[in-house]
Point group: C2
Amino acid sequence: MSPGVSRRGLIGAAGAGAAAAVAAAGAMAASRTEPAAATFRTVPFFGARQAGITTAAQDRMHFAAFDVNPSSTRADLVALLKDWTLAAARMTRGEGAGPIGPLSGPYDAPPDDTGEAIGLDPGNLTITIGFGPTLFTLDGKDRFGLAARKPDALIRLPLFPADALVAGASDGDLCVQACSDDPQVAVHAIRNLTRIAFGRASLRWSQLGFGRTSSTTSAQVTPRNLFGFKDGTASLRAEQTAEIDAHVWVQPGADPKATWLEGGSYLVARKIAMHVETWDRSSMREQEGIIGRTKAEGAPLSGGTEFAAPDFALPGRGGTPVIDARSHLALAHPQHNDGVRMLRRGYNYVDGSNTLGRLAAGLFFVAFVTDPRTHYIPMQTRMASSDRLSEYLQHIGSGLWAVPPGAREGEYVGQALFG
Amino acid sequence: MSPGVSRRGLIGAAGAGAAAAVAAAGAMAASRTEPAAATFRTVPFFGARQAGITTAAQDRMHFAAFDVNPSSTRADLVALLKDWTLAAARMTRGEGAGPIGPLSGPYDAPPDDTGEAIGLDPGNLTITIGFGPTLFTLDGKDRFGLAARKPDALIRLPLFPADALVAGASDGDLCVQACSDDPQVAVHAIRNLTRIAFGRASLRWSQLGFGRTSSTTSAQVTPRNLFGFKDGTASLRAEQTAEIDAHVWVQPGADPKATWLEGGSYLVARKIAMHVETWDRSSMREQEGIIGRTKAEGAPLSGGTEFAAPDFALPGRGGTPVIDARSHLALAHPQHNDGVRMLRRGYNYVDGSNTLGRLAAGLFFVAFVTDPRTHYIPMQTRMASSDRLSEYLQHIGSGLWAVPPGAREGEYVGQALFG
């Protein structure tokens, strides 16, 4: 069967296979109505950049971190990246993860797709792959002969003030960000990439996000986080190509050891628990003061619309500035961070509830930046100790990955690293 | 402000309130485009039956179990049910949880809605409330003077063979099932009901489900579970009114002590972990043999279409029946369960991954039945010990709640129990 056949198209062929197995029972009938592949909303996987960065932020996410097995060789790692590339490209087209698909193939073998996305629109599925610092060196060991090509910026993020990292939400040799407007499609992607990695790499942790907290194109309405405020207003949008070149993509010459990363980016992930019950009992005045923006419009408290420039000097009652210098807006603003910007791609999450009977809720913060040493670490250091919002937050997970540029058809993601 | 104002409508009023607070900074500008309330997809909350049972199954779910605080009185419980009823009715209309809403009200008080659903289409939100056995008696104590009206069928579900119940996924004095096509709306509903319950009842556990595994109307395509198979084919549909009367609703005279439950139902919840990695390595022949249906069409292995009646006697190779007597289809079929049917309303879930590096994935099984003693317990007893599928499953959560009939405008859910 051609790898170009969609999941939808596979149904007929598989019906034939299954029918053979139950031939005594008569022929299979046609499937009930399912969405036609012709209407599928897809984002190309191959290209100069990996998809899932400046792509319009999809509604849902499944993010996973993997560790390469200790016994795996460099050849195993390359083979895994090749297999992931092919499977990711297929799934983003709405096909099964493998060339055979979920429904056909040798009847005495497992299918090469798990099937729960049969007939589902990919919902603009993107699959974005990153390399963590431990892929290059672990406990001082050059695991795969890659240490000499490790970029200086690919460090383990420092422990910030008030960090309370928990096991199972930090780091990993590899990361995969799967975003789709349909959560079942995103889960299907991570699940199949995990299956394909079997014996070579294994899942370290994973996180579902149910609601996007950023817009990555100008056409998208700014979404709200679980504090009820618009989030990501100041995040870069795809149309701001000059700013994205300056603040998101790794530029030529950035690190002579790591030319393989040029045209790529860095993915910063932070799992941020939000004490929503406490927040919910704070006054509207307190909430808006802490954020520095109005709850309704998301406008700076100094006035104007959501996208108005804040006036940090504008005096309010008693002569103190309307926008508190320790508000989230003030501390995160480029004006107070050497002009740095970032492209945010975070999601709201709820992991059920904790043993105190509170929702285990928060923000899975994801940002793409050209260099975490200039574009994330200084800001987070300042915010962790000064941001009034910190009282309601706890950073419980952390990770940094280098995201190589895109693969072209026939290549695999990260190929230049191994060339 | 009128409680009939939508979340969308509130924005203008709130803008005015916020503007007053930042008057020095000039007037607020209009909000960016957000969906108009006129296009909201809503399901009426008030009615003879609670919504969320025969309602067309929404795509996403947030389910929560609550315990009434030990210090709460009967009056507190009644007040809570009244408050929940009003808030649920508002939210299902796309309004804020409270009469003031997320954006207005006294500026020095907390808003009475948490705000993350501002501007979101309710996505057919339904909120369904149930009463657990421990609401009536706990450790032998008649907590709220309700023990005499406890229905005989409202028991703690027995421990079935192979049950491995974990803390934090079973039982509860009250349950709330919030279903919506938008997960952020479902989360918002549970979060605000939790907030409203503060001091009277607290969250015991909660569960998100990202993909429905049942259809409750004939027009809905049968969805797939995380084994990749269509699920809930045999579940009752809203159009089968005679069967639903017989198998879902509690009939007059069912239990003279508990006339308050007539017209209601019982909600059985089972959190079923699925060993998807093991399943994914089993052959298509094994998978179809265990389920008793084809993976493609979901048809019985004895032939026909998805909805064809299975022929359990049809011989296959070697003379043994094509449909294994220990297949999931055979063991769950009404023909082998005294003709009982159920209305299923389950969801796929993934709670990240476990410490073994496996997806913490499964099915949050929900079924509505007229009597769990006839309609769930015998079947589950048989399946837990005989179903070939059990090798790939582990039941880790369990709960049973009596779901009273619907409230009419001016009433509260469960009112007849306290009358």
